[in-house]
Amino acid sequence: MSSTPETSIIPKIKMNAILNVLAKGYHIDKRPLLSYRQIDVIKNISPNADSSVLVKLGYTQVLAGVKIEVGQPFPDNPEEGVLIVNAEYIPAASPTFEPGPPDENAIELARVIDRSIRESKAVALDKLVLVPGRKVWVVWLDIYILDHDGNLIDASMIASIIALAKARIPYYEIDQVTGNVKIDRSKSAGLLPLNKLVSSVTIYKIGDVLVVDPTAEEEAIASASLTIAISEDGNIVGMQKRGLGTFTEKEIEQALEISLSRGKEIIETIKKFLS
């Protein structure tokens, strides 16, 4: 059952101090309200993965990894490969994260990222068929939150899309008689085919102001957030409102404008890390 989360006590005490700083047009770390913290990307953290990317967004750290395996297609989609996205908030990342299977927040994060990547057709799943109707590539995208200092969805989205773009399909041979596929991970059959890049911009409502990329302390006093996923071609490819608060129609329009401009910038940043 989904239950109202407990609000941590420290941000409540600091609430007025944070609101005062935001009212002046700045984050508590002195950035303008609509700017992101520095994005750092470290590739190949886990060399055994077919791709792995550590993204640092300020003090937030997210590790995304990809494993590509041979599997069966979904019966209702026999002509496409399979993408499976999972996320885990590891207990090392925050005193409030507990060990155990992914909770509703982790599931929601994984599903928002899954939908944005799937619906935008960012990964060319139609090019991942090995034996039509029987054998396809299964792309496992697993996201681990290593350190939580706010804005986990946007950081996860950056890590995910870079991990997918850098993923190498293992070398493979198809036995023409039996249809069995043998793979050799020491060699590569090329990069996972991508159609386009996707980024997400989450707009948080703190008091009456809209901000992006809050720290954990700021995020804890936000009443609601709206994640908007933007594709390279300028379309909206996913959206999710979270939190106990609300948005007016006007605020959603503002959030859309913010996400279109910031989303484009994040995609440019991603391109820089890919080149």
């Binding site: 989904s2 239950s3 109202t4 409102k241 129609e249 859309l256």
Partner: protein, 241 residues
């Protein structure tokens, strides 16, 4: 693709004969369960959802209670035989876990939870028959059930999905339109407050299409909102007589 995609729009009409901005037939009823403090059934086309509310009541386990407010707990489930095609496993799916959270967050802004500290308000949404729009029908029903339970709210919450099928922005998608369409966007709002409490988008829209779709959703929500109010008024008039 998932089988062959049917033609969803022909001569401006949708697969079930509706125009793009038409809602399906809606039926609402409150007080359908004896034991629950509040309950409601909402039918929209072939989608049928039951919502029940218990509370404010004691929090079990005790440590989950909050000193300054009631906690809201919500569970969204689909009955195993409610879906088209195969039986749905009764084990909670990732989708149901996400939707339980999304529905809770759509309703929480309306509930004046500070009036009942150290208590829980439990909301159960059971999908009896699924034909698209189960989460939105669930929110509409749960909001009625909360009102039926006498829980103070700043407004009712009404919800409906909009989407894009065969390039046309349409209101209130059914299952076929959701499955084969290009986008599905459920929206919930507190109409009198002008506040949106839920918005999700699964699919691709241009910014212009999104703006139009949101307008269309809010218009649909207003119609559902009037029906909610009528349904609640009818119940209390009946009691008076």
């Amino acid at each position: 693709m998932k089988g062959s995609k049917p033609q969803l729009i022909a001569e401006g009409k949708r697969i079930d004969g509706r125009g793009p901005a038409d809602l399906r037939q809606i039926r609402m009823e409150v007080g359908v369960l004896k034991n629950a403090d509040g309950s409601a059934i909402v039918e929209i086309g072939n989608t049928k959802v039951l919502a029940a509310v218990y509370g404010p009541r004691e929090v079990v386990p005790r440590h989950e209670e909050q000193v300054d407010r009631a906690i809201i707990r919500c569970r969204y489930r689909m009955l195993s035989f409610s879906t088209m095609g195969e039986r749905k496993s009764p084990a909670p799916s990732r989708r149901e876990i996400e939707l339980s959270k999304v529905i809770r967050e759509a309703l929480e802004p309306a509930i004046i939870s500070s009036q009942f500290p150290r208590t829980a308000i439990d909301i159960f949404v059971e999908v009896l028959n699924a034909d698209g729009g189960t989460r939105t029908a669930g929110i509409t029903a749960a909001s009625l059930a909360l009102a039926d339970a006498g829980i103070p709210m700043i407004d009712l919450v009404a919800a409906v999905a909009v989407g894009k099928v065969d390039g046309v922005i349409v209101l209130d998608l059914n299952e076929i339109e959701d499955m084969y369409g290009e986008a599905d966007m459920p929206v919930a709002a507190m109409p009198s407050m002008g506040k949106i409490t839920m918005i999700q988008l699964n699919g691709v829209l241009t910014p212009e299409e999104f703006r139009y779709a949101l307008r269309l959703a809010l218009d649909g929500i207003n119609k559902i909102y009037s029906l909610q109010k009528e349904t609640l008024k009818k119940k209390f008039v009946e009691v008076e007589e």
